[in-house]
């Protein structure tokens, strides 16, 4: 019975995807119900992670130097908190930098949960929804680069399909040479790229940014880690390491409005202040 029901549900939902599905109401219901709970638990889990180290130490106090030990533990906990705050501050600053140099209008959001559905899909839930003006299809970034695209918007939360999801294809441009290509997610292992044109060339370490089709233009995507030289193939393929680490997403931002035109060298000052410790995707003049 239940198996049949599940099959029917899947079939009906699949057929009606695209148009407004009858199950949209169900999803919206879940988003409304679970959204606030996820927000609460997500926030608590982050806090617990930061404080856990301190607590375990407090529990292991000896009997002699109780006071001193307690003092050390307190200070250590404070230090951890400071480290956490420092990291958050750095994330905020790099976001601000991107906003200023790229001319984007950003709304900051926090990632409250990451879904993987047995490892086949990679989505993140953020704590912004229709009430905050989020729309479907909006580009999501963090200070390091492209995070993904908003797929579904609930009242309090939205679901973002992450860059590494195999459903996502990003139109990219090689920063150094300006060549166009496509980047496809490969699950958590990373990304692959295809550069169009027989004379396409890429070197390890080359950075790519979005060329601006389904995603806003000019956002750093990743760095080339390998190229395959198949002389018979009309395209150049290889793997790309994303600038964004999807397992450590915290502060992100939804791009509400991009710059009027694709950012060029005139818009992004050269050299771009490094947004990450990785080799900075310094833009070269776009090809004329």
């Amino acid at each position: 019975m239940l198996v049949l029901t599940a099959f029917t549900l899947t079939a009906v939902d699949y057929r009606s995807s695209g148009d407004s599905s009858a199950f949209d109401a169900v999803r919206r219901g879940s988003d409304t119900l679970f959204g606030p709970a996820q927000r609460a638990v997500g926030g608590a889990v982050n806090g617990i992670g930061d404080a856990l180290d301190g607590i375990t130490r407090v529990g292991r106090d000896g009997d002699k130097d109780d006071k001193l030990q307690a003092e050390i533990d307190r200070l250590r906990t404070q230090l951890l908190e400071t480290d956490g705050l420092r990291r958050q501050l750095a994330e905020q600053q790099s976001l601000l930098q991107m906003k200023d140099t790229g001319g984007y209008t950003l709304t900051a959001a926090r990632v409250i949960s990451v879904g993987s559905s047995l490892g086949f899909e990679w989505t993140a839930t953020i704590d912004l929804g229709t009430r905050d003006g989020i729309t479907e299809g909006a580009t999501v970034v963090n200070g390091k680069g492209l995070v993904g695209r908003v797929k579904r918007v609930g009242p309090y939360t939205s679901v973002v399909v992450l860059l590494v999801d195999s459903e996502v294809t990003v139109g990219v441009r090689l920063i150094r040479s300006g060549q166009l290509g496509l980047v496809t997610g490969q699950g958590q292992t990373g990304l692959t790229y295809q550069l169009i044109g027989e004379r396409a060339r890429a070197e390890i370490g080359d950075a790519m940014y979005t060329s601006g089709s389904t995603f806003k233009a000019g956002i750093p995507v990743g760095r080339v880690t390998s190229t395959s030289n198949n002389p018979n193939s009309p395209t150049l393929t290889g793997t790309l390491e994303p600038f964004v680490d999807v397992t450590a997403l915290d502060l992100v931002a939804v791009v509400l409005d991009g710059p009027r035109r694709t950012p060029r060298s005139a818009v992004i000052p050269t050299p771009l202040p490094s947004p990450s410790p990785r080799p900075s995707p310094s833009p070269s003049p776009s090809p004329r």
């Binding site: 899947t10 939902d13 990451v114 879904g115 993987s116 559905s117 047995l118 699950g187 958590q188 292992t189």
Partner: protein, 168 residues
Amino acid sequence: MTTRRFLLAAAAVLTALLLQDTALTQLPLPGAAPDLLLVLVVAYALVEGPLSGMTTGFVAGLLADSLADHALGRLALAYAVVGYATGFIEDDTDRSTLLPFVAVAAGAVGAVLLFAGVGMLLGDPRVTLHAVGRSLASSVPYSVVLTPFVVPVLGALVRRIEPDPIRR
């Protein structure tokens, strides 16, 4: 079957659902994240039998489906079948310490294959041979690691409410 047992099942499923995406998927582990819901479904099936396992699986899967980004019912189908099948593993669970691990591992394999199979029928671009292999290689060991934390705890909770659970 009592109201209290129903409440316990509901609480367990909701807790697992919330912990799954807010905590477990954010662990920096390679491959798929550990699947707490799956382990919970198998744990229910082992304690209460195929019908309870199937119902728990269906409900848990459907809730997870509604929060995820694929056609509704895919996880519901996978978990329901896994719950039903592992429910037939006999009550030797109390004697053999190895059995829950085997059941969970088999359940994980079954769930991944069912989820991927339906995805393949629907032409889901996310389901490739490579992705299935990677999912199996990570979700089976992770689920087995979760087993000792979930199965005995759930068994104890169920027995506390009902000392001699009727297997259905």
